[in-house]
Symmetry: C2
C-alpha cells in the first residue's frame, strides 16, 4: 500500500480525544503574534526585562564531534581509555572547543540569552526549530509533505501528551507485550489500558496485530477497538528487538486498514549496533573517515533502518525523538514529528504544562548543535554508536567468559528466527582454590545479543530449577533478583516490563526475565557484576552441589 | 482560628482526585533507591554514561547580588543607566562574577554535570532542594511542621498538576472574578469550571466567599460545593491588588470552615513595591545598606506581607513559587510547598510528564544561588523590587503628565477603600502647533496605582463615550484596543482576564478594562506609548472635537 511520492496528510481529526478538542488557545498566547510587528510598543505581556536576568553570558567547553572513534578498538585500548576517564575523574583527555552565548548578541539574529530566557510560545526557539526541521527532513525523510515539528520535554512528556490528545477514558492502546513501564504508567490513571500484541525477534508481530484487530469484539473486550499504538521499534525496551523494514511496512499497512495512529517512541534510533560477533571472530575493519562530512553523513544514514515516518503517506505517525540518549537525559528536550492538526493540539496542551522547554537547556543544546553543524552532529552520533557497540560486545564477552554459551536457532516464541544464546555452567578448572562445579548442561538462561539499544533481555529458564513447580516463576524470579541485589548487583526485574504489570488486578504477569543495561558503568564493573551473577545463579540453580 | 505553634498537617487525602488516586509509582523509579547503596553495581537503569555528555564544563558570568540599587534614584539617573543598557546592547556595565560547573567535580559533593545532566527522580537536585528548604523556611515560615518542597517547571505546570491532583470533572474552582487566563485554560478542558468570587482593592472578598459557600446549592449550581481555591494574593494578575494579612486570615479561616484547599499562586511576592507617591512629593530616603547580610535579609523580609503558609496550621495550602520573575522565565523552574501527601501525588504526576526540570537549568540556577548565598539572593530580590518600583513610578508619572489625574476615595466596587485616580483630558497649552483640546472634565478611565506586581489595571469609563448605549462595553473595549494596536501600542485586553471568559457559552464577560504591564521595555517607550494612548483615547472619546 505504501507509495513513494510525497502527499499531504489526510484528515485524522476524528482521532482527537474529547479532552483535546475542549482545549482552547491560551488567550494570552494569542497576543504573541502582534509582538512580531516591527516597532510595536507592547505593554500587553507580563515579560520581565532581560536586564533582570542575572546572567551576562553562558559558556561551555564542548566535546568535538569526532570525540569517539568510529571503529571498535581492541577492548584493552578502549578499557584503558575509559578507566582513566572514569577512575580518576580526569576529564583532561576530552578534546573540547569553547562556545559562548551572550545575553545581548552582537549580531541580532544570533542565539542569545535575552531571547532564550524570556517567555516564549510552546514551540522551539528559532535556531533549534530550524535545526530540527533539517535533521528530520534529512534523517527520517517523511513520506507526507506537511509534517510539523514541535518540541517537548522528552519522550515521557511526548507520550503523555499523545495519550491525552488521542485517547478517551475506557479506551485501549496497542503495544508490545513487553514494554516500557513509564509508558503504561502514563495511561493507567486515565483508565486507558495497554492492549498487548505478541512479539518475536523483530518486535511486534504483524499477524498477531491483524488477528487482534480483525477479530476485535468490543463487548467481550469491554472497550472499543484500539485506534492508537505505542511502539518502540528500535532497540526495544526491554526486549532489545529491532524491527525490519518489511515488518514496519506490514504494521503500517495494517494501521491504515484499521485506522490506527502509530506513536513511534524511538530513543535508541542512533544506537543501531549491528550483529554481535564473538570475541574470537571479531577483527577491526577498515577505519572509516573520522571527520564530519556530508558524504559520510549520507552514507551512514543509508545504513540505518527507516523510521515509520518514511512510508507514512497519510500522516498517521507521531514520531517521538529525544536528546536524552544523544546529548544527556537532563536535557529534558525532545520533539514530535507529526501532522499539523495533531501538532496544534499537542502545542495547546504544552501551553498549560511546562510551556516551552527550559531556556537554559534550549540555548546550550542549540548552540552545541549549530556549532557542530548538522554533519558534525551526525558524526557525534556515529561515535556514540561505536561506543555502545563496544559496550555491548564487551558485556556479552563477559557472559561468554563466565558461562558456556550454546548458539541455537529459535523456531518459535519471542526469538523466532534468531540465534539464541543458551547459557549453562562450564567446567571451571581448579586453580588451586577449592572452587569447582560440574557442567550439567542445564540451560539456566538464554538471550539474543541485541542489534540496537542499551539492553540485554535475559530469559531465565526457571523450569530448570531443581525445586521448580509450575506457577513458581514469579516467586523464583524475585528470589533470584533479591539474592543478586544482596550480593551487590542490580538487574531490571522482568515483571515490571509486562504490558499488564500495572493494570489493576492483572494476574498474567509473565516472569523469569531480567533486563540488563550495558549503557553505563565501567567495563571492570561489567566483569565484576557478571562474575557475581555467575556465582549467584549457579548457587541458585544448585549447580555446585 | 489561627494558632501560633507549629503542628503536623491534618489528613486531607479526601481531596485527592480519582485520577490522582489511580496513579501508581513508576516501577522503574522504585528501583532508584537501590542506587544509593555504596558500591552497588547497577545494570538496572537505562542511564547513559556521563562520558557521553558532550559538555566538559559550563561557565557563566553572573551579575553580583547588589547589581541594582536599593533606593529609587532620580528618574533621570535610572533612565540614562537603562538607556545605555538597552539602547546599545552594551552589557559591559553589568558587574559580574564567574561561576563554573564541571562535568566531574574535584570535590565529590559539588554541583556537577555528570549528576545534573543524568536521569533523576522527579524532585530537585540535592543542592537545589537544600536551598529551597532553607529559603521557604526563612521567608515563608509555614505554620505546619511537615511541609514538603517539590520542584516543578514553573507555576503554570504547578497549577496544572494541582488541578489534576485535586479536581474531578464536573467540579468548580473558587477564584478571583478577574484572574489569570492560563489558569482557567488548564481547567476548562477537564470540565472543571471557575467559580468567580467578588473582589475589592485587597483582592478576593471574604464576605463574598463566605456567602457563596454557605449558600451553595449543588442543584441550581449543577456542581458540588467547590473544595479548591486558586488565588493570586500579591500583585494580582490582572488587577494588581494585594491582600492584607487580616484578609488572608479571614479567607484562610473560611477555607478551614468549608474544607477548601488553597492553591496560592504567588509569582509577584518579591515585587511588593509600596505605595505610589506622585513625582512632586517623592524624595529619596536614606539609602539602605547595599551589601548582602543576614540582618538586612531579616529586616527586609519582615516588611513583606506573609504567605498563606504562615498561618496554615492544617497544611491545606499548596503554595506555588517560581524563578520566572526573579531569575528568568526561561528557567521553567518553580516549586510547590505543601503537605507530604499532596507532594507525593504531585511527584507521581511529574514522573509521567517532564520528569525532573531540565538539568542544564537546575545546574546553572543552583550554582548562581549557592554562589550568591541565601543572603545574596535576598539582596538580589531587594534590588529587583526597587527596579520595579521605579518602573511603576515612572509609568504612572507618564500618565500624570498626559492626563489630568483626579484622586478620589472609592466607596464601593472593586477598588473600595482605595484612592482611585480618575483620568480626564487636561488643557494642553498651545505651543505654536495647532493641537489643543478642551477639558470636559469627563473621566475616560481610572486606576489604582498597584502596590505590588507588574500591572496597572485600567478601568475604561465607556459609559462616558458620546455614543454609548448600555451593553456596548464589549464592542467599545475591542474598538479602542484595536485602534491602539493599529497606532503601534499593545495593552492587555480586559475581557480575557474575566474568570468566565473561557467557560463555554459564557456571556457575562465584564468589559472596559486594559491590563498594562510596566515590567519590560525602555522608559522612553513608556513615554511614547502613553503619548500615543493619550492621542488615541481622546480621539476615541471625541475630546478634541
Amino acid at each position: 500500500m505504501s507509495v513513494e511520492k510525497r502527499t499531504q496528510s489526510i484528515d485524522l481529526s476524528h482521532h482527537l480525544s474529547e479532552l483535546s478538542k475542549a482545549r482552547q488557545t491560551s488567550p494570552l498566547k494569542g497576543i504573541m503574534k502582534y509582538f512580531a510587528q516591527p516597532g510595536i510598543l507592547s505593554l500587553a505581556g507580563g515579560l520581565p526585562s532581560p536586564a533582570y536576568f542575572p546572567v551576562s553570558d553562558i559558556s561551555a567547553n564542548v566535546l568535538v564531534p569526532e570525540s569517539f572513534s568510529l571503529s571498535p578498538t581492541e577492548p584493552s585500548t578502549s578499557l584503558s581509555w575509559l578507566w582513566k576517564l572514569f577512575g580518576s575523574h580526569n576529564a583532561t583527555k576530552e578534546k573540547t572547543q569553547a562556545i559562548t552565548i551572550p545575553k545581548y548578541p552582537t549580531v541580532k539574529e544570533d542565539i542569545n540569552l535575552a531571547t532564550s530566557l524570556q517567555y516564549s510560545q510552546a514551540v522551539a526557539q528559532a535556531h533549534l526549530q530550524n535545526f530540527l526541521k533539517q535533521f528530520t527532513s534529512e534523517v527520517y525523510r517523511p513520506a507526507f509533505e506537511d509534517w510539523t515539528i514541535l518540541v517537548d520535554t522528552g519522550n515521557t512528556d511526548g507520550w503523555s501528551r499523545a495519550v491525552m490528545t488521542l485517547c478517551n477514558p475506557g479506551e485501549g492502546v496497542l503495544c508490545e507485550e513487553w514494554t516500557y513501564p513509564s509508558a503504561v504508567a502514563s495511561m493507567i490513571p486515565f483508565n486507558i489500558k495497554p492492549v498487548p500484541v505478541g512479539m518475536d525477534a523483530l518486535g511486534m508481530k504483524s499477524d498477531d496485530l491483524e488477528n487482534l484487530l480483525s477479530q476485535w469484539d468490543p463487548v467481550s473486550r469491554q472497550m472499543p477497538r484500539p485506534h492508537v499504538m505505542y511502539i518502540v521499534p528500535v532497540g526495544q525496551n526491554p526486549s532489545g528487538s529491532t524491527m525490519s523494514v518489511a515488518r514496519k511496512k506490514q504494521i503500517y499497512d495494517i494501521c491504515v486498514k484499521y485506522d490506527v495512529i502509530i506513536v513511534e517512541d524511538d530513543p535508541y534510533y542512533f544506537l543501531q549496533l549491528g550483529t554481535y560477533i564473538s570475541k574470537d571472530d571479531r577483527f577491526p575493519g577498515a577505519t572509516p573517515s573520522g571527520k564530519p562530512s556530508a558524504d559520510e553523513s549520507k552514507r551512514y544514514l543509508s545504513t540505518l533502518t527507516p523510521s515509520f515516518l518514511n512510508f507514512d503517506y497519510e500522516g498517521r505517525v507521531i514520531r517521538l525523538d529525544t536528546f536524552s540518549k544523544t546529548i544527556a537525559p537532563g536535557s529534558r528536550l525532545g520533539w514530535f514529528t507529526c501532522n499539523p492538526v495533531f501538532a496544534e493540539r499537542l502545542e495547546r496542551q504544552g501551553e498549560t504544562t511546562a510551556q516551552a522547554p527550559c531556556g537554559f537547556g534550549q540555548a546550550v543544546i542549540t548552540k552545541i548543535l549549530t556549532h557542530w553543524t548538522y554533519d558534525g552532529y551526525i558524526r557525534w552520533l556515529r561515535g556514540l554508536r561505536t561506543e555502545y557497540q563496544q559496550r555491548r560486545d564487551f558485556f556479552i564477552d563477559c557472559l561468554a567468559d563466565e558461562f558456556h554459551l550454546h548458539e541455537v536457532p529459535a523456531v518459535s516464541g519471542v526469538w523466532e528466527g534468531c540465534i539464541v544464546y543458551q547459557a549453562s555452567s562450564q567446567v571451571k578448572k581448579s586453580t588451586g582454590m577449592t572452587e569447582k562445579y560440574s557442567a550439567r548442561n542445564r540451560t539456566m538462561f538464554s538471550f539474543v545479543p541485541p542489534v540496537a539499544g542499551m539492553f540485554v533481555w535475559m530469559k531465565l529458564h526457571l523450569d530448570q530449577h531443581p525445586s521448580f513447580v509450575p506457577g513458581d516463576e514469579d516467586t523464583l524470579e524475585t528470589k533470584l533478583w533479591t539474592k543478586l541485589a544482596e550480593n551487590g548487583v542490580l538487574f531490571g526485574p522482568g515483571w515490571m516490563f509486562s504490558a499488564n504489570a500495572m493494570a489493576e488486578g492483572s494476574d498474567n504477569n509473565d516472569s523469569g526475565h531480567f533486563r540488563i543495561s550495558f549503557s553505563n558503568g565501567e567495563f571492570t564493573d561489567f566483569k565484576k557484576a557478571i562474575t557475581i551473577f555467575g556465582r549467584v545463579i549457579r548457587e541458585f540453580f544448585q549447580e555446585d552441589l
